[in-house]
Subunit: 414 residues, 2 copies
Amino acid sequence: MILEGRSNVSKRFKKVENGSVTSPKGYSATGIYANLRKKDKLDLAIILSEVPASCAAVYTLNAFQAAPLKITKDSIAKEGKLQAVICNSGNANACTGEQGEKDAIRIRKEVSEKFSLKEHYIAVASTGVIGELMPMDKISAGIEQLSPVPSIEGGDLFSKAILTTDLVAKTTCYEIVVNGKTVTIAGAAKGSGMIHPNMATMLGFVTTDANIESKDLQYALSDITNKTFNRITVDGDTSTNDMVLVMANGMAENESLTTDHPDWEVFYQALQMACEDLAKEIARDGEGATKLVEVQVEGALSDEDAGKIAKSVVGSSLVKTAVFGADANWGRIICAVGYTGVEVNPSLVDVFIGDIQMLKAGQPIPFSEEDATLYLKGKEVVIKVNLHIGEGEGKAWGCDLSYDYVRINGSYRS
Amino acid sequence: MILEGRSNVSKRFKKVENGSVTSPKGYSATGIYANLRKKDKLDLAIILSEVPASCAAVYTLNAFQAAPLKITKDSIAKEGKLQAVICNSGNANACTGEQGEKDAIRIRKEVSEKFSLKEHYIAVASTGVIGELMPMDKISAGIEQLSPVPSIEGGDLFSKAILTTDLVAKTTCYEIVVNGKTVTIAGAAKGSGMIHPNMATMLGFVTTDANIESKDLQYALSDITNKTFNRITVDGDTSTNDMVLVMANGMAENESLTTDHPDWEVFYQALQMACEDLAKEIARDGEGATKLVEVQVEGALSDEDAGKIAKSVVGSSLVKTAVFGADANWGRIICAVGYTGVEVNPSLVDVFIGDIQMLKAGQPIPFSEEDATLYLKGKEVVIKVNLHIGEGEGKAWGCDLSYDYVRINGSYRS
């Protein structure tokens, strides 16, 4: 269920324009050029917290989890705290066997030595080519050069250095007030850009100065990930390297946030909005995407059912190509609703593209093709489905499927 | 498990070149131009058996099952027998509510009257535009004109008339010997051609003169469908109209085939080969496809697991675009293996493209990029994955993802 009273709660958020992962108190960051793969591309980045931070993480479900994820899990397992995240682009360190794990451990060790941190306070993330060993000489030389700064610029460099073929950096920042203290939540992400010959990877990094225990943070992140990062699809492929990390260093000095704290809901909502912002930016910047598609499902038996249907519709290649072609092809939407296996009563379903209704109680109704085409030519397309059999609701985000997707992903590796 | 002794069994098949649904004894067929949508496109077709035939059917799992499927189920529910199948292309009669069902019932009635058959001996199939009412005047006039013939040409007209934007007709035919009698099994299918603004539909029609009870035929068809028609993917979308029908009219006069008949296995294998032929032709003729992709998985814990992985790999947009681009991107294959949820030990997996090994026991091994590219430029690409944790094996078929897929599916409805 969407939390009640969101409209009241929402007055207590402030969206911070141009915020970055260094906006919350006590964080510094940077991104540098370590020559890992491409010329003129920042490719090694770090976030550092002045003090150990509570942390939470979610990882890809792909059976072939890359080495850095294993090492990050190992770090977090010790105390549930992190003080630094090191991330490189250009090489995913995936399918690299024992040597890959040794390399990830070495990266963690070198960061530990450089910044005098406990090894298990360090997370490692990688994105890029798979099946190639890490160029460790360059990584080591890069780590030596890292000098994170607490300015917005430091955060911006971080958000750029983690990208692969993403076209734009993805950042978000909110402020809330928790028992009189200003708490800031910020984030950076990379999406499904593809460097030949690798695969889509989604990485998300959220920093906050909130005071909160790791277990509560993990509870919130797991729940929110299912409604945000897990509700985006570019091509349905789930990478070996996907990871979302949240650090909360407590420097806002609020009373510790727990699920029964009066301001829990505000914090939860702000974290959700930050994650949703990043997720939508990833979808909008999908390979070859020309527009963001949001699917809103209501009236399902459960929120879970609604989410399944929303993801099915937004992930359908036929729907995606129709949106690309600005074709109001509601039949494909219905088709994608129908093959989810979720309970549906076909004679009750309504379908809208934007505010234009096309199916009412399972029957096609006349609509203006011209208006629909005009709407579909916009940069953001909303598809609404109401099943009218329950109270469940959910959203999902994706992009259209264009010639450029085929070009980007079909070209020879270089 | 693949049945034992297939090599011995296979000597008892004869592939009949240029066979069609009229090749088995007692069948006639035709396809005519009823002006349902496009000029110069045959669009109304019938198969007729001299005597009522045992029948078996499998239907789409899509919640929005089209009207003709409901009427066909209704027919078969009575006696499990069919004597005719009427099929139109151009209009799917899907999402057409009560009127759609009335129209499908009327079609059945008109065929019944025209050919003096019991109504419940008639199956109805449709493919084409969804959400539009059937042009019943044209259909009725068309039914009046149908005059099926027992020649190969009649079967060929049928196989052409059921197509939508498929580029080629898909037929198959085998002969076997069952206790001294020649039994013929033939089939026709249409694939995922797309007429704007509809959706992919797969229809398969198999005729045989075998003597077999409906329940045994259904047992074989359900089992075989899971290994053939359910193992192809063009874009992962499952239509409202998908259906496979088998008719067995007994005119070969063999002893009734049951699962314990000494020739059961030969019959089963021939039916499987016929269905596999049709399924592969559908995959090869996927929209915009430039090549057929076959994924072979071995060493899984079960055949079901192997099938899931094979379908995941062949359905991955990233794998499909890589194959289109002749890019030996084994990382994407591994990725698609990893996100199925099926049990895998990453450190045991082997991956081959053609006969070129790229991953051995989870580790990348050197290979000639040049050889791989040359192989991938061919018209048929085989990808092999061995999990080395069990005896399960399975195959799946699909096609590459090309610019033309986007063009065909992204263009405005006309």
